[in-house]
């Protein structure tokens, strides 16, 4: 049913529709509305889940880890410093091959303190073994939860998944969102069948010691699992399309890519602004297009290269900076296009909630045409 709701509420209700057995989270801006809503549902018995209140994000994700190990479907949500407090547990969930879904309401990281949006938090977890989705709008953010559980819990995958959506820009924004019924979600997302689980009658330990003789093989198996998730994302996306009419089977989405000479690459809500800017530039006769990356881990290098094949130049908009190097998305795109001769220029934009306007996108396209890139875009004069 189409409803006009806040992004956080859409995500909280989507998480509830996935029938988690255990929810454990610690409130942190701008994720708070999500977990407030879930806590209220649990207290009102409209959500049949154990809501475990904890004293930190480390405990929140640890409680989820234990819950999944015991065979439960678990959910959490966090952002920024909270996600960093979960850092160790994130790697453990992936290594123990325990599937769950966590929402990340993307926010800048300290120091200096900023509660506003960029994508540094989840991007910094890119090596953790979690599948990472980035949503452009609230419809996509909500929908990706049903899909994420389905992919994560597949026995060919068995990995945790993050659904990332931009803090405030999406979390606190009201949009029309088509919310499915419980019956519809139940028909799409089957009950969680654990591969192994904690059982007092048949004891088992997870994530045991691996000596140098075997550690590399376990890491290889972990990498193979996330590579296999590509096929499962495709399948789950196609089934989602058949059931709900929205298509998430592709890892990337092109916008006006046909005959585009300059292609912008972006993740998340920024894509909406870029599309508007492209329409204006196209009307003025500029051949510009967008490649939106929805799945950042596993990185769809082949699909990115195929989509960008005909372009003359690429401008990557990174809402993160791998300090001492470049934006994390640009590095991946450059790798995907290695040997193609297509120049890839990186623009660090929108850190700590700095607005990215249509005229900024147009200005970046001009810079790209002049070959000026690999820079922080729009720095204040006299300060930087």
């Amino acid at each position: 049913m189409m409803r006009f709701i806040e992004g956080s509420i859409a995500v909280a209700e989507a998480a509830a529709l996935c029938r988690p057995d255990v929810v454990s989270a610690y409130p942190i801006t701008p994720q708070t509305h999500i977990v407030e809503a879930l806590a209220e549902m649990a207290a009102n018995c409209t959500l049949d889940a154990e809501y475990i209140t904890v004293e930190s994000e480390f405990s929140a994700l640890s409680a989820c880890l234990g819950a999944v190990a015991a065979g439960s479907r678990a959910y959490s949500a966090t952002t920024s410093q909270g996600l960093f407090l979960m850092f160790e547990v994130c790697f453990n969930l992936a290594g123990m091959r325990l599937p769950m879904v966590m929402t990340v309401a993307n926010r800048a990281v300290s120091a200096p303190i900023s509660i506003w949006n960029d994508q540094q938090d989840s991007i910094s977890l890119r090596d953790s073994g979690w599948i990472q989705f980035y949503a452009e709008d609230n419809q996509e953010a909500a929908d990706l939860h049903y899909l994420a559980y389905k992919v994560a819990e597949d026995h060919q995958v068995l990995l945790p998944a993050m659904v990332c959506f931009d803090g405030f820009i999406l979390t606190h924004t009201y949009e029309p969102v088509d919310m499915p019924t419980q019956e519809q979600v139940d028909s799409y997302l089957p009950k969680f069948v654990p591969h192994e689980k904690l059982d007092a009658q048949d004891p088992i330990s997870f994530g045991m010691l691996a000596t140098p003789d075997y550690y590399m093989e376990f890491r290889y198996a972990n990498d193979q699992a996330i590579q296999r998730s590509k096929e499962k994302i495709r399948e789950a996306g196609k089934e989602f399309l058949a059931k709900f009419g929205r298509d998430y089977s592709a890892f990337v989405e092109g916008y006006r890519l046909e005959d585009a000479e300059t292609v912008l690459v972006a993740l998340g809500s920024l894509c909406g602004t870029v599309k508007e800017a492209i329409d204006e530039m196209r009307a003025a006769g500029k051949k510009v297009g967008l490649l939106k990356i929805r799945v950042y881990r596993p990185f769809p290098g082949v699909e990115v290269a195929a989509a960008l094949k005909g372009a003359k130049r690429i401008a990557v908009l990174d809402k993160n900076i791998s300090l001492g190097s470049k934006g994390a998305v640009a590095l991946e795109v450059k790798d995907a296009l290695y040997g193609s001769g297509i120049p890839v220029l990186d623009y660090i934009v929108g850190l700590g909630g700095r607005d990215i306007r249509k005229r900024d996108i147009a200005r970046i396209v001009e810079l790209t045409e002049k070959g000026e890139g690999d820079l922080f875009y729009g720095l204040r004069e006299g300060v930087a």
């Binding site: 091959r97 088992i204 997870f206 994530g207």
Partner: protein, 86 residues
């Protein structure tokens, strides 16, 4: 050997895992100055030095990591640590 998904293990894994392979120095029990006091068995962190029918002590080399505690504590100096070639 197939790896377990998530590096899981059922109970008894420490028995199956022959940690004796980690050993660099091997304790050799001479049994000439030995007084059968049993101190080597008591101090062994692995608990792998067992009394035989003739009351002499013998380490289980499947699990002995070669820490050398038995040799250091043996009052009769009957145990010798020797470099092991593998």
């Amino acid at each position: 050997m197939a790896l377990s998904v998530g590096c899981t293990a059922r109970p008894g894994k420490s028995r199956a895992n022959k940690t004796g392979a980690w050993r660099v120095f091997k304790p050799v029990f001479r049994h000439d100055k030995c007084t059968k006091c049993g101190i080597c068995s008591l101090v062994c962190p692995e608990g792998c030095i067992l009394e035989q029918e003739d009351e002499f002590m013998i380490p289980d080399y499947d699990y002995c990591k070669g820490c050398g505690l038995c040799a250091a504590e043996c009052p009769a100096e009957d145990i010798e640590m020797t470099k092991e070639e593998k």
